[in-house]
Amino acid sequence: MRNFSKITLGALIIALASLTSCSNDDDKTPAEKPTIYERLGGSVMVSDPDNSGQMIEKGRLSFRKVVNSTIGLIVADIQSNASGNLQAHFAPLLAETGSTQATNIAKLSDNLTDFFSFNTGGKNTVNTYSGLSMSAAHDPARNPRMGTKSSNADYTKFVGYVGAAANANGVASNTELYTDIVAVLESLRTPIVQK
C-alpha cells in the first residue's frame, strides 16, 4: 500500500512536470510586431524643434517631418503649364496668407500628421484625426484646399514622393518599415483616386 502511494505520487509529479512544460511551450507565441508609429519613435516625448518649450511624441514628429518633406518635394516640381506634376493639387500651399491665421500648409501638415499617426498606432489624444473622410478630403467640391481630383497616375506619383521623403528622413527603401508605410498608402488608393 505504501509502495503504491509512492508510485502514484511519483507518477503525479512526472505528469505535472510534463504538463507544465507543455504549457510553457504553448505560451511561446511569436512577439507582436511593433506598429509603424512605435518603430518611428512611438510615444516617447521629445522637445519640438519648431515650437520652443513644447514637447512632442517622437513618432508624431517623425511623421510630421516626412509629411513636410513630401510637400516640399512636390512644391519643388511645380512648373507653370507643365503636365505630369501635381501643381494643380498642391500649388495653393505656396500662397502666403500672412501671419494672422493658420496657413494652408499648416492645416494640411497637421491633418496628415494626425491621420497617419493615429492610423499607424499613435493612439494618444494628440493624434486624433478629426478631418474629413479620405473620400471627402480628396474631392474639390467638398474640400476647398484640394485643387483638383486625383487620377491613378497622380496617386502613384504621390506615393513616390512620400517614399523619397521617407528616404530623406532616414527610412531606407530596403527596410520593412518602408514597405509597411507604402502598404498603408496603397490601402488608401481607392477612396483617394476619383478621376
Binding site: D48, P49, D50, N51, I56, R64, K65, N68, S69, I71, G72, L73, V75, A76, D77, I78, S80, Q87, A88, A91, P92, L93, L94, A95, E96, T97, G98, S99, T100, Q101, A102, T103, N104, I105, A106, K107, S109, D110, T113, P144, R145, G147, A168, N169
Partner: protein
C-alpha cells in the same frame, strides 16, 4: 383692455423667443472649440536658381539659408535648380529670406511667386493687433 392683453402676449412671445435665441447663442459659444494647429505659422517657399545646383553649391546654399532666422527644422529641399524651404511666417517671410540669401552670396536666382490664378483665396484678413480681435480671443479663451 383686450388690445393690451394681445400686445402683452405678443411682447412675452418676443421676449421668450429672444431669450431662447440668446441661450442657443451662448450654448454655441461655450461648446465651439477653435481649431488648434501644431505649427499654425508654417509656410513653404521656393527660390528658383538660373542653373542646376551641384552638391557643393547646394551645401553652401543650405548653410546660408540655415543661418537666416525663422527657418524651421524641416529639410531644405534642393532639386535641379530649385530650393524649397520652410519658415515661420511670424518671424520672417519669403521676400526677407530671399533678400538675406542674396546678400550672403553671389547667387543668380529669383523668388518663386505663385501665379494669382493658383493661389487659394480662402483667407481672413484679421488684424491680430486690433481691439476686436483681442476681445473675441479673450472671450473664446474664457469658454475654452
Amino acid at each position: 383692455m383686450k388690445i393690451n392683453k394681445i400686445v402683452k402676449k405678443g411682447l412675452w412671445a418676443v421676449a421668450i423667443t429672444g431669450v431662447l435665441f440668446f441661450a442657443i447663442l451662448i450654448f454655441h459659444i461655450i461648446t465651439a472649440k477653435p481649431a488648434v494647429y501644431e505649427s499654425p505659422n508654417l509656410q513653404v517657399s521656393r527660390i528658383d536658381f538660373k542653373e542646376n545646383i551641384d552638391s557643393a553649391y547646394a551645401k553652401k546654399i543650405c548653410a546660408d539659408l540655415r543661418s537666416i532666422k525663422g527657418l524651421t527644422s524641416d529639410s531644405i529641399i534642393v532639386k535641379r535648380n530649385v530650393v524649397v524651404y520652410f519658415h515661420n511666417n511670424k518671424i520672417t517671410n519669403s521676400k526677407k529670406v530671399y533678400d538675406e540669401l542674396m546678400s550672403k552670396g553671389n547667387y543668380e536666382a529669383q523668388r518663386y511667386i505663385l501665379p494669382a490664378g493658383l493661389a487659394n483665396k480662402e483667407v481672413c484678413p484679421v488684424d491680430q493687433n486690433s481691439y476686436s480681435y483681442k476681445l473675441s480671443k479673450k472671450i473664446n479663451q474664457f469658454f475654452n
